[in-house]
């Protein structure tokens, strides 16, 4: 698993450098969550929606590791004619749903979950959201509905890296106390370290009955590269060659 997450991080860094794209911090904070989902959790008929569509590259790199897309396709990121949009696209093999505008993934996941319930199918639906999406009205509209319909086949993971587009979450719009907000909406809530493979796995395999499951994953934006961690500059900036070399050295050392 260490090698898996290391390779994803290396590809994220290299391709962001090559494409001169944004959102490297948002990609690096969800690597372990994606690794656990794709290696241990997702079964054939399960559904996964990346609602924080701006972290598309992290998902494309994961899909490459899992052989959904070829190296050639992955390396087309950032070039003309590529299907790898910088906001995740359903035209890419293995991607369930296109997102990019925040607050869209949860209602769609709820639609899928309720369909499975009606059909008495055992499939589960997983949706990965950003902490910025907590600002969206659809998050709370969706939770009311999911809780009312007792959608225990719905698993909502919050990538709580505490940094949104312009500043720290607590300085933009404070969302705390987050856990009690979800509890008061009738959800089963777990708070975990979102970079700990075992913790993520344990949280995802045990779900509550008759309630939607929410996992608040405490993460670090830019995780793995010291000068990117907790620094909002890396929501926008792409690494120059020097930044790339330094970050690859760090990743190779940390995840050896």
């Amino acid at each position: 698993m260490n090698k898996f997450t290391k390779d994803i991080r290396i590809n994220i860094l290299k391709l962001t450098y090559k494409a001169k794209s944004s959102h490297i911090g948002s990609c690096l904070s969800i690597v372990e969550i994606l690794a656990v989902l794709y290696n241990k959790i997702l079964k054939r008929k399960d559904r996964f929606i990346l609602s924080k569509g701006h972290a598309a590259l992290a998902l494309y790199c994961t899909l490459y590791q899992k052989k959904y897309i070829s190296l050639k396709t992955l390396n087309s990121f950032g070039s003309n004619k590529t299907i790898l949009m910088n906001h995740v696209s359903h035209k890419v093999n293995g991607v369930e749903f296109s997102t990019g505008s925040l607050g869209h993934g949860l209602p769609v996941a709820i639609g899928k979950a309720i369909k499975f319930k009606i059909n008495k199918e055992k499939n589960k639906v997983y949706v990965l959201m950003s902490d910025g999406e907590i600002n969206e009205g659809t998050t709370w509209e969706g939770l009311l509905f999911a809780s009312h319909h007792k959608l225990d086949n719905l698993n909502i993971i919050i990538d709580y890296n505490k940094l949104q587009s312009m500043d720290f979450v607590k300085k933009v719009i404070n969302i705390e106390p987050l856990k009690s907000k979800f509890l008061s909406f009738g959800c089963n809530v777990k708070v975990i370290n979102g970079h700990n493979i075992t913790a993520i796995n344990n949280a995802l395999i045990r779900s509550a009955k008759n309630k939607p499951n929410v996992i608040i994953a405490n993460t670090v934006k830019g995780k793995g590269v010291s000068f990117m961690e907790n620094n909002n500059l890396w929501h926008y900036k792409n690494p120059n060659l020097e930044d790339l070399k330094r970050s690859l050295l760090e990743i190779n050392k940390k995840y050896a």
């Binding site: 296109s98 209602p107 996941a109 639609g111 899928k112 009205g137 509209e141 009311l144 509905f145």
Partner: protein, 289 residues
Amino acid sequence: MRKLFIKQLTKLNRRKKNYLIINDLGYSVIEPFKNKFPDRTFNAGVSEQNMMGIAAGIASENSNVFVYSIANFSTFRCAEQIRNDVDYHNLPVTIISVGSGVGYGNLGYTHHALQDYALMRSFPNMQILSPGNNNELIAVLNFIQKNPQPSYLRLDKTEHEEIKFKTIKVNPGAIIKLIEGNKKKIILTTGSVQNLAKSIRIKNYNKYSLYSMPIWGMKAKNKVKNIIKKFDEVITIEDHFYDGGFGSWIKECIDDSKIKTIIKSKFIKNKVINEVGSKEYLLKKYGPK
């Protein structure tokens, strides 16, 4: 037209592939479907964006979803969910808006649907279903059941008298003859203004033929161009603003070509209506003449 819509939707759901989602309205209208298919009916509460996202989610799992609401709630209130979740993914969601034009006359500007064509015709995969009588309503529902895709069903709030049932075939961009007249000069309507169009015809265009176009949208533009170019004059009539409406759409269809057809459009005045009254009053004062 609401009751006939629900009756037909219930009839068409033998294979239980249709879902109905409402946002806390439709009292004494939707019950026939709800009672027969309780597990296929959801009330999303007063949350239009969530409702449209859920509709897309259900539709993405091999089902047809009908989202029933009134006026602007199922269109403007959740426009981005329609754009990104329904239209971009090309999902079989039919968005129903009851109260076309000034159908909810006394409820005021918030409840009038005067710009909905403008929004819905801007989506590349969207078919606009705008039936003008009961036969057309049945036909467009049959069409969408056979060809599931993103669609917008614009329903007249008024129940139409049961006219003699006649099976008609409708297709995107196709026109249906309502009154035979001049072969080169026609009146063309869409939606629930057929009676108004008939009276305008008698008053000003007595010899013209009268046609309707119950299904249209971006994908049909080329086909419509080839139909319109056969006529010398086309008078369009609609209960919508001119900007972004049906008449301006017809003009767009024949744009940048050498087509000589004269298009004249009759529509609801392009302005915020600051008074209320019955549908008939508002149409008489602000509507097509």
